[in-house]
């Protein structure tokens, strides 16, 4: 069953028409990168899929089931994990409480395992979310999403504002999630790092898909990469 498929999304914020017929798909075991400059509609695409900003037209399926118009918790309950832009951790809750917030779904991730995988979070267990550094918050947001035991994980700009070392850590986790059998949909400003990690890539511009194909092919097209990377807010190399 295809983890995620969105077809012909037309999404609006009030009167402004943001997505114009966006179709994307995440197949089983894939890491898919969703690229594009600021304001291209990447976050809106993710929000449309999650049911946070339901599309006016088009359909979203998660694991074959039509979820268009369903509230986010129903989409999540099917096994769609979501790490929002800006992490959105609960600053008024402790690290431990943040991790106990998600609904229970059977799977490999337990609280104990999360602390094992993210030892820094174990150290800061009793701290309030608001007391964490940006990197720790990102780890917390990812761990929190993983505790839902998602079969597909959506990450919205997980490297935003983080030091390169921590970004490497984040990307390592993304790889690990895939190795354990989940699929990944990744929105990234770091074009080079993202296409190095992903199997396939989509490029959005002005709310339309303007490129779709193997990440390798996109990475090989240096002119395209440079154009997109140059337009991004952050550019640097991961060095691997």
């Amino acid at each position: 069953m295809t983890p995620l498929s969105a077809v012909g999304l037309e999404t609006f914020y009030g009167k402004s028409h943001v997505l114009h017929g966006v179709s994307i798909e995440v197949r089983e075991g894939e890491i898919v990168a969703l690229l594009g400059r600021n304001g291209a509609g990447k976050t809106t695409t993710l929000r449309s899929i999650m049911g946070l900003t339901p599309p006016r037209e088009g359909s979203v399926r998660a694991f074959g089931q039509l979820v268009t118009g369903l509230p986010p918790f129903r989409v999540a309950a099917l096994g769609v994990g979501y790490v929002p832009e800006g992490r959105k951790i609960f600053g008024n809750l402790t690290v431990d409480e943040n991790l106990r917030a998600p609904a229970d779904r059977p799977g490999p991730w337990t609280l104990a395992r999360a602390y094992q995988a993210f030892p820094r979070l174990a150290e800061r267990k009793a701290n309030k979310g608001s007391q964490l550094s940006g990197g720790e918050q990102e780890m917390l947001a990812i761990a929190r999403a993983l505790l839902l035991n998602p079969k597909v994980l959506i990450l919205d700009e997980p490297s935003q504002g983080l030091a390169p070392l921590i970004v490497e850590e984040v990307f390592r986790i993304v790889r690990r999630v895939r190795e354990e059998g989940a699929s990944v949909l990744l929105v990234e400003q770091n074009v080079r790092a993202a296409v190095a990690l992903a199997d396939r890539a989509y490029v959005l511009d002005d709310g339309k898909v303007i490129y779709e194909g193997a990440a390798k092919d996109f990475a090989a097209d240096e002119a395209r990469v440079r154009e997109l990377a140059g337009a991004s807010a952050e550019t640097w190399d991961l060095g691997d």
Binding site: L52, F73, R100, A101, A103
Partner: protein, 289 residues
């Protein structure tokens, strides 16, 4: 003199405890659902009347246990059927709804139980003063204070130490993100509403034993309850508790020493607190619904 001060303080604490129970329930609902429940006083009166009707069959203690639960159940139903469809709309809609509900409650109570006040008595043994010196201390009043403390303590336990509680706190901060974690936020809001109404129902039963019953008994409590929330600081339940007790004591003392200022003192306090601390005593930085 000391005796008079004690009298004022103690009366104030009793009234303040009612304000706090009301205000904490209002706060819970406001924080998670963004609804200002003007019908809260109606639920309080309903709790009192239910106890009044139940007491002859199941006794005072049974009524004290059951009436708030029935009130809460009605609260769950009201949230599910009337309030829920208005989430995500202009707050004016829910404001109008609860405002209208407040009138419906009043007229409903009047229709069922009559417009006249009716007496409701706790066991007689609890109503006599404990000593002649402290004539205002009755067993019932002490019991009432203890019960309010237990109820508030229980609520803080639920919020602080249970999964339901942490989700309520998380949802208060960011309901959207909580929903993406698979948490059924509709059920959460429903339960939270019920929790708030339970406290109103409990306050109603206790108030009935102290002040007697009338369809409008909640009216005098609702404005001071809003003031408690503002004085304590929006978003802080501990602040709300403090705010309730504080303005209760202030009005209790005013009742003894400046009876004519008994009502005004509440608002004077609110102005004073807001001038010194615009977010209230324990208000959070920059978070207003």
């Amino acid at each position: 003199m000391i005796q008079l001060v004690l009298f004022g303080v103690f009366n104030g604490l009793i009234v303040g405890a009612f304000y706090a129970l009301m205000a904490i329930g209002l706060s819970l609902i406001l924080n998670l659902s963004g609804v200002i429940n003007f019908a809260h006083g109606g639920f309080l009166a309903l709790g009192g009347y239910l106890a009044y009707s139940l007491a002859p069959t199941i006794g005072f203690w049974g009524a004290l246990l059951i009436a708030p639960l029935i009130t809460a159940a009605i609260g769950l139903l009201v949230e599910r059927l009337l309030v829920r469809p208005l989430y995500g709309r202009d707050p004016l809609y829910s404001l109008l709804l609860t405002f209208g509900l407040a009138f419906i409650f009043q007229d409903g109570l009047r229709t069922i139980w009559g417009a006249q006040s009716v007496p409701f008595s706790p066991p007689a043994a609890m109503m006599s003063p404990l000593s002649a010196q402290l004539f205002f201390l009755t067993g019932y009043r002490l019991f009432m204070m203890a019960l309010v403390a237990i109820a508030v303590g229980g609520l803080f336990y639920v919020l602080g130490w249970t999964r339901l509680g942490l989700r309520i706190r998380a949802g208060t901060r960011d309901l959207e993100t909580l929903s993406t974690l698979g948490v059924d936020v509709r059920v959460l809001r429903n339960l939270n509403f019920g929790l708030g109404i339970y406290l109103a129902g409990l306050a109603g039963v206790l108030a009935a034993g102290q002040l007697g019953l009338s369809p409008t008994m909640g009216d005098g409590l609702i404005m001071p309850s809003f003031v408690s929330i503002i004085v304590g600081g929006l978003g802080s339940l501990v602040g709300t508790l403090l705010g309730g007790l504080l303005i209760g004591v202030a009005s209790g003392l005013a009742a003894v020493f400046f009876p004519s200022a008994q009502e005004a003192v509440i608002y004077v306090m609110m102005v004073a607190v807001l001038l010194a601390r615009p977010r209230g005593l324990l208000g959070e930085e920059g978070r207003v619904h």
